[in-house]
């Protein structure tokens, strides 16, 4: 098959297309139609074989976790692929209540909702002012925020831990949301500034002429127009904050204020000692399934939004 063909002949550096392909030249053109179809089929089987193998490698661990969440702890230890004798729905009740996954879940939802709302509102405001108003210090404000993207968060955690404690932001859900939002701000400001610059200046001009004030122009004209940009940035911000692990680990000291990631990691250690595997897998499934549902409902927007962000 062509995959095993000898390596390419000489090629002009500036022109990536092969100039002469002796031998190869005749093969596809001369081959009878039926031969080509056969080769196409073989190739297709080969392609699908490889693609399906990776799909299985992605799906199997997740399916295994869901399957295990319906088993007793003894069944989990027996055989990774045995089916449970009876599906144990009570595992989920136990994980949700006794293992407190429910509390962690609600905590995470509160922190991420508040945190990403704060990120987007502050980010849009700052970005709009930087992109649309010229004033002394405009560049300085921009670089102040953008520089924050290049620093590793690790460098900040020791002083941040003490500052947050001093301000009463440590070990509080609202405090965590505020801290999430300022650490997401550089990213939001960077992308939204670029976005606001692409919007026509005439829009704001027209609004001013119609008697809109500065705030009115921003809130009623520019924000709605910038919606696609806000959605793109929002997807990144929500995912980033939902997945955050380092900040809650240092800031949330009482288990009542744990978020899902740290609660689950904590559960993994404690249930491992207790040998309560069924609750652990039920907790894992509870952490995976809602994300799967949201992902499947919005996968087109999520993929398009994230890929567009990476290509910019």
């Amino acid at each position: 098959m062509s995959l095993n063909a000898p390596s390419a002949p000489a090629v002009d550096e500036r022109n990536p297309l092969p100039r002469d392909t002796p031998g190869d030249l005749k093969r596809p053109a001369a081959g009878p139609a039926s031969d080509r179809t056969l080769r196409g089929t073989v190739l297709n089987v080969f392609t699908h074989g490889i693609l399906l193998t990776w799909a299985a490698m992605v799906v199997l661990p997740l399916a295994w976790a869901v399957l295990s969440s319906f088993k007793t702890s003894d069944e989990v230890l027996a055989n990774p692929w045995s089916l449970p004798a009876t599906p144990r729905w009570e595992n989920f009740v136990e994980a949700w209540t006794t293992a407190e996954i429910g509390r962690y879940f609600v905590n995470t939802a509160v922190v991420v909702t508040l945190g990403s709302a704060l990120t987007l509102s502050m980010g849009a405001l700052v970005a709009y002012v930087i992109a649309r108003y010229s004033f002394r210090g405009n560049r300085a404000v921009y670089y102040l925020f953008v520089l924050g993207m290049t620093f590793p968060t690790f460098l900040a955690i020791v002083p941040l831990f003490f500052i947050a404690r001093g301000l009463g932001l440590a070990d509080s859900l609202i405090g965590l949301a505020i801290i999430y939002s300022v650490y997401s701000l550089p990213f939001a400001v960077f992308f939204l500034t670029a976005y606001f610059r692409t919007l026509p200046a005439a829009l704001a001009e027209a609004a001013f002429i119609d008697g809109c004030g500065h705030w009115g122009t921003f809130l009623r004209i520019m924000l709605p127009v910038a919606r696609p940009g806000l959605v793109s940035v929002g997807i990144f911000v929500v995912l980033g904050q939902w997945n955050q692990y380092l900040l809650p680990l240092i800031l949330q000291s009482s288990p009542d204020n744990y978020v899902l990631t740290q609660g689950l990691a904590n559960l993994a250690v404690s249930q491992g000692y207790a040998g309560n595997w069924s609750a652990l897998f039920a907790g894992l499934t509870i952490s995976i399934l809602p994300v799967l549902v949201v992902y499947l409902s919005f996968q087109r927007q999520i993929q398009a939004g994230m890929v567009a962000g990476a290509l910019k």
């Binding site: 995959l3 390419a8 392909t21 297709n44 027996a78 405001l125 300022v182 990691a265």
Partner: protein, 305 residues
Amino acid sequence: MRAGSRGFIVSALAVPVILYCVLVVSPYAQSFYISMTDWNGLSPERNFVGLANYTRLVKDGVFWTSLWHNVIAVVVIPVGTLTLGLFFATMIRVGRYRARGGTLNVRGGAFYRVAYFFPHVLSIAVIGVLFANVYDPTPSGLLNGLLGVAGIDPVNWLGDKSTAYAAILAVIVWMSVGFYVVLFTSSMSAIPVELFEAARLDGATRWQTFWRLTLPLIWDTVQVAGVYLGIHALDMFAIVNVMSAAGGSGGPDNATQVLGNYLYLTAFSDSEFGYATAVGVALLLLTLLFAWVSLRLTRRERIEY
């Protein structure tokens, strides 16, 4: 400038800029000073010790081990992820180009992209807990269970020094590949079909088409992706903290230790805040070095098409 714009600018920027300075800028600024003190976090006084923390760092074997592991991650994760990502994207994108004479997606291409991408939206902590169980040393773990079917004895993936770090790196590659498959299929779809048609008429093999046509045309995207992956590979904290032996020790015997986790343990387990911050400064230098090297290496030579 319109009337009242000064007032608007001030009122719009005040809250975000103050919050940002107090909670982000000031911790970064303070950390340079704290790294030159012997602060233990408990006592209010901290003594200025100059560069003592840094000289201790240079002699610290665990620091160098962690640094080395970070460097390995920065090389292995981008190379592994980009290779697999390009491979699968090519499979999806041009899988049928010979059979159909065009660059149609392979049948089921949408399904593959949806499935491959999914781990990317899960949190690293969740994936870490999942894979700690996949790698369980007994046959009840998924991987050892599958190996058992093939008659291979169980391997203590995360407990053995020789396999632990490779097992963790594999998880990061596993979760990252999907994003790059989607990224590369969409940048490949921007290449005009006529170019593939021309290559086909010239008798180029699939292998040649990939190396001489597809890859050069999406090279820009590949480079950006490599820098992204490299910067994320400098982190590694969450996955090591969740997966490594004994609740995030970076073990066994520092075999999976990375700078982020070493910093965390030094600060919040050993209360050596001054020394931990010096590790943070080293991590910053490593990040800047990586950024500088990747800027030097990724020359912008865009091919127009």
